[in-house]
């Protein structure tokens, strides 16, 4: 009887999950697939080598249009990030194609100079209008916060929803933005026959509305990795998304490390306080 009941329950859950995914597809929502990340969950940390590769992809591909203005060159050196050697980053900054406008100098003139370690990683455009003018009216967003400024939602019936929420909280799921960007980078395709694509736009299943102004940025072999990682779109996408996740949340490693210390301290203290409370109340019925 008990077994029968649990089987029924199980099949009900399976049916509702199936129904949930069905209704999501009917509504035209593309379910964003969840990727495996080294930094996901409550113990996850960034993988230094992956962040370094990710920065390489950013530098050689994304930086052609997108800035990273909230990240300074010095951040590439600090712990918890790609941790490039300081000398290498100094050299990188000195040769960065997008210079810093500084001044006024002694003659009262503004001038351009190469960035220092303390300067932000600037994109090619001085302002949004310049960007739009050279991108057919489209604005390539700054990527400093993009991994946190995007999200991917799961569609589910109202009675399944609370369990998904609880699962996400217990698994410390925070990678909605990372999964979305990964999907965006990898889900370019030809538009279906019945889809009217505007001229100069590209079909992308992950993008809301499915047409995006950014041409497919990655193709196999476009970046030459030094460490033997296969040069595929899949690897590029994972690496650059990891890098952007770090750029948006540079204190992640430290946050989770301190988090565990805090949680363990609190659990032990709660336990001790509980024992103390039990002892204090021992002779009192309550």
């Amino acid at each position: 009887m008990k077994k029968h009941l649990s089987l029924t329950l199980l099949s009900m859950v399976a049916a509702t999950v199936a129904m949930g995914s069905l209704s999501a597809e009917e509504a035209g929502h593309q379910e964003i697939e969840r990727q495996k990340w080294s930094f996901s969950g409550f113990t996850g940390q960034f993988d230094k080598a992956q962040l370094q590769r990710g920065f390489q992809v950013y530098k050689e591909v994304c930086a052609a249009c997108h800035g990273l203005k909230r990240v300074a060159f010095r951040n590439l050196v600090q712990p918890g990030g790609p941790e490039f050697p300081e000398d290498a980053v100094k050299e990188l900054a000195a040769t960065w194609p997008n210079q810093i406008t500084d001044g006024p100098n002694d003659e009262g003139k503004m001038f351009e100079r190469p960035p220092l370690l303390s300067d932000p990683i600037r994109g090619p455009y001085h302002n949004d209008n310049e960007a739009r003018a050279s991108q057919n009216g489209a604005l390539p967003p700054d990527l400093s916060l993009i991994a946190r400024a995007r999200d991917s939602h799961r569609e589910a019936s109202w009675y399944i929803h609370p369990f998904l929420m609880l699962g996400d909280i217990l698994n410390a799921y925070q990678e909605g933005g990372a999964n979305y960007i990964y999907a965006l980078l990898t889900e370019y395709s030809d538009a279906p026959a019945d889809y009217k694509l505007t001229d100069g736009k590209y079909y992308n299943k992950a993008f809301p509305g499915h047409q995006i102004a950014m041409p497919p940025p990655l193709s196999d072999g476009v970046v030459a990795y030094q460490d033997g990682t296969p040069s595929t779109v899949d690897h590029y996408s994972h690496d650059v998304v990891a890098f952007l996740s770090w750029a948006a949340d540079p204190s992640l490693d430290q946050r989770k490390r301190i988090g565990w210390q805090v949680i363990l301290y609190l659990i032990v203290t709660t336990g001790l306080l509980y024992l103390g409370k039990k002892r204090i109340w021992k002779n009192i019925k309550h």
């Binding site: 916060l145 996400d168 909280i169 988090g259 949680i263 659990i267 103390g276 309550h286």
Partner: protein, 438 residues
């Protein structure tokens, strides 16, 4: 226990000197050390202490954040990023403050529902209860203004939508609503001027809140705590001194609560927020879904339940006004609970009919919260209207009527009798009564 006097005895000459001039140690001792608390309080009674800690934590983290924050159109968003990236442990302060707001509301809602279940609003605790409603209103105002400060897309559009609600008054007196809205904004649109004044108020209100919390605790210590039986304290054996008994239990509750707090602050700090708030405010781009923070969702659902009609009743031009009035009355109505409830029995433990309505009311509030997060279309609108009706019926029909028709189950004679009859030891009550007083 208004009659409780302190048995404080100064132990030093200086203590005696001060006690004769400012008996603050005596006050503390009588309020927080030997203050008699009911012996049968369960863990739901630890939320008062938890809320005090929440308030203090918000003030401490908030004051430090304010040292690094710039309340201006151009500077606000950047300064938050500056705090997250460049200020030492700024990311931690920021997470503790934003998650802290959510935890504050979680705790206050549990505290309020505990009050509903055990009838803590009934005589003689009406003033205590009303002060509590005022605290909740102040919290809501503070949290709402605080949410505008990061100056992200959701901040900006949240303020725009909510402040615009006052324009509904235009349907009563043309121009009145618009005038109020422009007065709130300090201009013809939400701008840095609005942000600046909201920052000033966001810094001010917590101190007003602290004052009202002081009154709330004062009123509590005049009438004494309610307890799970809802019975008055009748004899010394009904109580134990606050310290070490209640304080020991409070600290267990507090630290258990802090585990949850830390989990959110350190592992899922973005979970309770919205991704759009990591995009800087832009008056030219409206986000696809504008949703408030989770703790406002039930009230937001009530607001949006009033579309051009409500459950088939056409509302015409008054739709918006009805929604606004309903939303604010949903909060204000709570203050009238002491007079709406006609039952003389406090605790729902002994109220067989009301008990079920309580759980259904809790379900109603959660359902409204869920509906508030959904787009206002189709079945969601109808469901919001039904649950809005349920919300108001709980106060206006269930509370008055159930109290009149219900036969309460038999009440124990006293708190002591109740705790001693538990566990079924079969011993005569006298045998184990009040061991601590022997």
């Amino acid at each position: 226990m208004g009659g409780h006097t302190s048995n404080y005895v100064p132990t030093s000459r200086w203590g005696k000197w001060l006690d004769e001039r400012l008996p603050i140690a005596r006050l503390m001792q009588s309020s927080f050390v030997d203050y008699p608390t009911p012996r049968n309080l369960n863990y739901l009674w630890t939320f008062g202490g938890i809320l005090t800690v929440c308030l203090l934590a918000q003030i401490v983290t908030g004051v430090v954040l304010a040292m690094h924050y710039q309340p201006s159109d151009a500077g606000a968003f950047n300064s938050i990023e500056h705090i997250r990236r460049d200020v030492n442990y700024g990311w931690m302060l920021r997470n503790l403050h934003s998650v802290g707001a959510s935890m504050f509301f979680l705790a206050v809602y549990i505290h309020i529902f505990r009050g509903f279940y055990y009838g803590s609003y009934k005589a003689p605790r009406e003033v205590l209860w009303i002060l509590g409603v005022i605290i909740m209103l102040l919290m809501m105002a503070t949290a709402f203004m605080g949410y505008t400060l990061p100056w992200g897309q959701m901040s900006f559009w949240g303020v725009t939508v909510i402040t615009n609600l006052f324009s509904a008054l235009d349907t009563i007196y043309p121009g009145l609503g618009t005038a109020i809205v422009e007065w709130l904004w300090g201009g013809y649109a939400v701008s840095g001027v609005t942000l600046n004044r909201f920052f000033a108020l966001h810094y001010l209100l917590p101190f007003v809140l602290t004052g009202v919390v002081g009154l709330h605790i004062w009123a509590l210590h005049v009438v004494g705590q309610n307890n799970p039986t809802g019975l008055d304290i009748k004899q010394p054996s009904d109580t134990v001194p606050m310290h070490p008994y209640a304080t020991a239990k409070d600290s267990v509750g507090l630290f258990a609560f802090l585990i949850l707090f830390a989990w959110f602050a350190f592992f899922v700090p973005d979970y309770l927020g919205h991704a759009d708030n990591y995009v800087e405010a832009n008056p030219l781009v409206t986000p696809p879904h504008i949703v408030p923070e989770w703790y406002f969702l039930p009230f937001y659902a009530i607001l949006r339940a009033f579309t051009s009609s409500f459950l088939g009743i056409p509302l015409g031009q008054y739709a918006k006004l009805c929604g606004v009035v309903a939303m604010f009355s949903a909060v204000i109505l709570i203050a009238f609970a002491p007079w709406l409830d006609t039952s003389r029995v406090r605790s729902a433990k002994y109220r067989p009919i009301f008990k079920w309505f309580f759980w259904f009311f809790l379900f109603t509030c959660v359902a409204l919260g869920y509906l508030g997060s959904k787009p206002a279309e189709g079945i969601y609108v109808i469901a919001s209207q039904i649950f809005t009706l349920c919300y108001f019926l709980f106060f206006l029909a269930v509370m008055p009527i159930v109290g009149l028709i219900e036969t309460p189950s038999r009440l124990p004679r006293s708190i002591t009798d109740d705790v001693l009859s538990k566990g079924g030891t079969g011993l005569p009550t006298g045998a184990t009564a009040a061991p601590e007083s022997r």
